[in-house]
């Protein structure tokens, strides 16, 4: 299955893109998405445990992901 990974701000700069498709086995979790991401050039600039949202809600490493999900890797927020 495939999920869409969104990257923002410094993380988008690090990986050179703001969006990419990642292929995963079924029953995958957020941790699996991050493991796939680690293989990409520039991913060493991500912190060990970045914030993640699945379908626009904050999630944890163990959260399940499903085909077509939108998985966002979220740098430290700096609004206001």
């Amino acid at each position: 299955m495939s999920v869409t990974v969104l990257l923002f701000a410094s993380y988008a700069d690090a990986l050179g893109t703001s969006s990419l498709a990642v292929d995963l086995p079924s029953n995958a979790t957020v941790a699996d998405v991050l493991a796939e991401l680690r293989a990409r050039p520039g991913a060493e600039r991500l912190p060990p445990s970045p914030l993640v949202a699945v379908n626009q809600r904050y999630a944890t490493a163990g959260s399940a992901v499903r085909a077509g999900d939108e998985v966002a890797v979220i740098p430290p927020v700096a609004g206001g």
């Binding site: 701000a9 700069d13 600039r45 949202a53 904050y58 979220i74 927020v77 609004g79």
Partner: protein
């Protein structure tokens, strides 16, 4: 009573924010404006670019507005965050809250800005006098540039 929670690329209008929370039952209205200041951590700033995960930021702003009504006894609230390039002294965020009593208005206003800073996926890149730009990390973890410098 629909709370306002918006992202905008236009300048924030304090008068409109105040009007959106005014009701005859309120005795106190509080408006918070976060504005771009000329120095941050000792570095002279010339402007800030704000960007967001827009769909989620809107969802979180709306959730904060709804939670404000629940936590603070039907305080009226309007939250607006600006995106794009901002010059010095421009407002990046405007929060208007109104309540029958001022104590609740102060507490609610402060709660909204702290929640916004804690959980709304918005980022800012500061532009400095020397022409460089840097993403701001309020957690104090190594910045992008610093992490990049450690690249193996």
């Amino acid at each position: 009573m629909t709370p306002v929670a918006r992202l905008t690329r236009d300048p924030i209008d304090p008068t409109a924010l105040l009007a959106s929370v005014a009701r005859p039952r309120h005795g106190a209205i509080l408006l918070f404006l976060g504005v771009v200041r000329e120095v941050n951590d000792g570095r002279p700033v010339t402007g800030i670019e704000y960007s967001a995960y827009e769909a989620m930021a809107l969802r979180e702003l709306a959730a904060i507005a709804d939670e404000t009504l629940a936590r603070f006894d039907a305080t009226d609230v309007a939250i607006e965050h600006r995106l794009g390039e901002l010059a010095l002294e421009e407002a990046s965020v405007g929060i208007a809250v109104a309540h029958a009593h001022r104590g609740v208005a102060y507490d609610a206003s402060r709660w909204v800005i702290e929640e916004l800073k804690r959980r709304v996926p918005i980022w800012k890149r500061e532009q400095y006098v020397d022409g460089t730009r840097e993403w701001v990390d309020p957690t104090g973890r190594p910045t992008e540039a610093a992490v990049g410098g450690e690249r193996r």
